[in-house]
Symmetry: D2
């Protein structure tokens, strides 16, 4: 069964770029964050529903890496492909690949936690198990 891959076109805006005229790299991480939300939305679970339905505070990042091969300038458009690459008990991995035309421009990896408020201390966050029904949405086997 084909896994779910979501695609998003991102138009690079003037304000995304730095004095060298290319995307200020932290902006890419915001793009990727939006793409991860878009991936869940494509699976039928927009982030507001995800947070409300499962009582989580979000899916905070614990480890992320990006390799930047080809820079992009304002006015250009990139296409970002995103997919879940692994599920763990209370975390999961996401992969993003950004293309300029046919060329692979950036690869990025994320590990995120399915996170709730700590029951003993609302100021702390703890990982909780990712529900099987959420994982199933990405395998295409959910109702």
């Amino acid at each position: 069964m084909p896994e779910l891959v979501s695609r998003r076109e991102v138009m690079i805006e003037w304000g995304d770029c730095d004095p060298a005229g290319i995307v200020y790299f932290p902006r890419y991480f915001a793009f990727f964050d939006n793409c991860t939300a878009g991936l869940f939305a494509a699976a039928g679970l927009p982030k507001p529903d995800m947070v409300r339905r499962y009582g989580i505070i979000g899916i905070p990042m614990v480890d992320t890496r990006a390799k930047f091969g080809i820079p992009s300038k304002w006015g250009e458009t990139i296409t970002i492909e995103s997919r879940i690459s692994a599920w763990h008990r209370s975390s999961f991995d996401v992969e993003h690949r950004a293309f300029k035309g046919e060329a692979l421009a950036i690869e990025a990896w994320e590990t995120r936690v399915w996170a709730a408020r700590h029951p003993d201390d609302p100021d702390r966050i703890k990982g909780v198990p990712v529900p099987d029904e959420v994982k199933a949405l990405f395998a295409g086997t959910a109702a």
Copy 2:
């Protein structure tokens, strides 16, 4: 001879945080970017001087990773320690460690290119050798 380590305190602002009330992780990459600039400034080479003196367009990121262990909230202050961990011919590695009090909260790594406009195409960027006098600034051996 002791290597150069720069330290910067970062007060987490309301606008650095997301709806979970913790730092929106792309902001950390901006903090680290500022810390790398601060590290060069501490070595005697503020970024405007660096760009002007050596004819580069900047020090664009080619590879970066961060591991987030402890989240921070608005109103809190973290201390970021930054150092050059390796010099290559036309690139270099930076390490950042963010502390909340005594606790190591985040570790991050950067590989950046010492980059100039491509002589044949001003729209392209190419790595050029990092001048020895720049490397020497961090070893404490420069005049």
Copy 3:
């Protein structure tokens, strides 16, 4: 003759929002900045062309105001309508209206300068006359 009005849908992302769960207001100014670029693109003058063809460094802001009536949360979508409200010799005014469904949520105004590097000092910026052919694009009378 009908004036040019451009419309853009903006999906509010998690990272656009603050700990109160609503859009962090400086993000709206980035949205509006993107909409002004989109307005020129709709007139046939994407910002890269505008800068290259007319030798300007951009259209920096000299005065802007926004009135925020209805907040928006991540996961919501707003529609922003943008138009040129006045042309001056070397500056112009833009109006943006953001809607949530039928409701007017935000009104914003911008005065921007058609700006070039100062001929005597490349570190300074000066306003230069907006070309008539640019103004004509918005009146629908250009070729």
Copy 4:
């Protein structure tokens, strides 16, 4: 009795600037937002305390304007002076003045609401009266 004025130095970072090499104007609004938080902190009411003690969700913006006279570039430092210019029943006005050296570079005005969750609908926000003890902090008459 002298009113409270807080001052903050802001070092302009590479990532604060756009392809024209000057501060991307929405960043100034983030600076001003931070300065408003700093003004309350200077009055003895850091934002986390303010939110917790008075049960508000924050002090969202309802109207803001900025006039930009002199641009700033990365590597430069500006000084921002902030003060409360008026108190209303459930809102208040803030003025910011940004200086480059002796020169007034930017003036900005904010009207913000002292805002709580709506008692009938936690998704909505409503203004509530600013406590007199908060106002008194800025007049220097509080204990």
